[in-house]
Amino acid sequence: MSFGFIESNPQVDTTSKIKAAFLYNFTKYIDWPAEYKSGNFVVGILGNKSSLYKALYDMSKTKKVASQEFEIQVYSSPSEISEKIHILYIPDDASSNLNGAVQKLKGKSTLIVTEAPGLTSQGSGINFVIVANRQKFELNKSNVEKHNLKVSKSLEDVALVVK
C-alpha cells in the first residue's frame, strides 16, 4: 500500500474583482448630475459577458451608490447602450467600439472606462493600464467633464496620468 495525495488547482480570476473595486471607488470620486441620482445606478459592459460581469454582479448584491442600487447590463454593440447609463466599461477586446460608444453617449452623463493603451486620447474618461504588474488608471479629466461629470481632486491625485 502506498500513500496517495492530491493537488490543488488554480482557476480563479483575481483581476476582475480588483477592477470592480476600482469602479466602485470611481463612484465615490465622481459626481453625477441630479437627474442621474435616482433610479438604479447602471453599469454597462460593452462586449461579451466577461469575468468582470460576475465581479460587478457580486458587488451589486452588497453595495450601493448612496441609495441607488447597482444594475449591471451587457451590450453587444454601441447601438444597444441604454439611454441612461452611469458607467460604460469597454474591455480591451471591444476597444474598436469606443468611437461608436462616444457618439452614442454624446450629451449623456456617462463615465466611459476603457483598458487599452492610448484610449484617453480617443474619448475615454478613465483608462486602466498595467504598470509593474499593478492595475493603475489614467484620467482624462476633460473627457469626463464633457459628459457633465465632476471629478474630485482626490481622484486626480491617485491617477497615473491626468490630461
Binding site: 493537488e7 470592480a20 491617485v158
Partner: protein, 298 residues
C-alpha cells in the same frame, strides 16, 4: 554433614527454579504451537520477569512471536494495536541480546513484517480524523526500519509521506472553522519545503508550493471588500503581487521538469493572469490547448 545438607538443599532449590522457569518458556512455546494464545501470553509474561531468563534472547523472541500472533488474531484492525507494540519491543530486545546469533535473522524478518503492517495502517489513516494516527504510525515504522536496516535511507517513501500529510493538512485547512487554517497552511508549506530540501526536482512539491502562494493571494482578493479606498486597494495589490511572484518560480520549475503537465500549464496561465501579464498567460493557455489537441488526436 550439616554444611553438606545446606549445599544440597541450595542446589535442589536452584535446579527446581531453573526447571520451573524452563518449563514456563517451554510451556509458552507449546501453548503457542497449539494456538492457545491467552495461555501462551500468561506463560511468556511470567517467564520474562524471571531473573534467570530475562537475558535469554529466546524468551524475548518467543514473547515477540506470541504477541505478534495475538495482533494477527484479534488486533489486526486496530491501527494502534498494543500487542503489536509489545511484539516490536520484544523482538528488538531479542535481537540486542542475540547479537547476530541463530535467532537474529528470524527476528529481523518478524520486525519487517510488523513494520509493514504499521506502514499500511499509517497509509489508510491520512484523513482529517485519523491523521495523528498516521503520523505516529509512520514515525513508528521509520523507527523499526532504522533498527532493521540502519544503513538504508528511504527518501522516496519519506517524500511520499510528507506530500500526503501536506494534502491532509490542506484538506483540513479548507474545511476549518476554528481559525486554525493559517497554522495548518504553515505546516503544509514547511512540509513542501522539507520535500524540496530532499529533492529540489520534485514536481508535486514545486507545483503545490506554487499553488500555496498563489491561493494565499487569491484568498486576500476573495476576502477583500469592494469599498476599500484607492490607497488600500493599492496596498492589497502590493500584497497579492508579492505572493504571486513568490509562487511563480516554483510553478516554472514544475513546468521545466515536465512541460506537458496540464495542471502546471493551467497554474502558469493563472499566475501570469493575476500578475496582469496577459501575453504570457495567453501563451500558456495556447500551449495547453495545443497539448489537449494533441492528446485528443492520439
Amino acid at each position: 554433614m550439616k554444611k553438606l545438607f545446606y549445599i544440597l538443599a541450595f542446589l535442589l532449590l536452584w535446579s527446581s527454579n531453573v526447571v520451573h522457569a524452563q518449563n514456563k518458556l517451554s510451556n509458552a512455546i507449546y501453548a503457542l504451537q497449539n494456538k492457545e494464545l491467552v495461555k501462551a501470553q500468561e506463560l511468556i509474561d511470567a517467564a520474562i520477569v524471571d531473573p534467570l531468563f530475562q537475558d535469554d534472547s529466546r524468551t524475548w523472541y518467543y514473547r515477540g512471536v506470541i504477541y505478534k500472533e495475538i495482533y494477527k488474531e484479534s488486533e489486526s484492525d486496530n491501527k494502534l494495536s498494543p500487542s503489536r507494540i509489545v511484539a516490536v519491543e520484544s523482538f528488538k530486545k531479542a535481537y540486542e541480546i542475540d547479537k547476530g546469533g541463530e535467532i537474529s535473522e528470524s527476528t529481523l524478518k518478524n520486525l519487517k513484517f510488523l513494520a509493514t503492517t504499521i506502514y499500511n495502517h499509517a497509509a489508510i489513516s491520512f484523513n482529517p480524523q485519523d491523521y495523528k494516527i498516521a503520523i505516529s504510525n509512520y514515525e513508528f515504522y521509520k523507527d523499526i526500519m532504522a533498527f532493521v536496516e540502519p544503513d538504508v535511507v528511504d527518501q522516496e517513501r519519506d517524500i511520499m509521506y510528507k506530500l500526503t500529510l501536506a494534502t491532509t493538512y490542506t484538506q483540513m485547512a479548507s474545511i476549518d472553522t476554528t481559525g486554525s487554517s493559517k497554522e495548518l497552511l504553515d505546516k503544509v508549506r514547511a512540509l513542501y519545503q522539507e520535500v524540496l530540501e530532499i529533492d529540489s526536482n520534485n514536481i508535486s512539491a514545486n507545483y503545490n508550493m506554487g499553488i500555496l502562494y498563489y491561493n494565499e493571494g487569491v484568498d486576500i482578493v476573495n476576502n477583500m471588500d469592494y469599498s476599500l479606498d484607492l490607497e488600500e486597494l493599492n496596498n492589497i495589490q502590493d500584497q497579492i503581487l508579492a505572493l504571486f511572484k513568490k509562487s511563480l518560480p516554483y510553478m516554472k520549475k514544475a513546468y521545466d521538469l515536465d512541460p506537458k503537465r496540464e495542471e502546471t500549464l493551467i497554474g502558469l496561465q493563472g499566475i501570469y493572469y493575476s500578475l496582469n501579464d496577459l501575453a504570457k498567460s495567453e501563451a500558456y493557455k495556447q500551449e495547453l490547448e495545443i497539448l489537449k489537441g494533441n492528446e485528443e488526436g492520439e
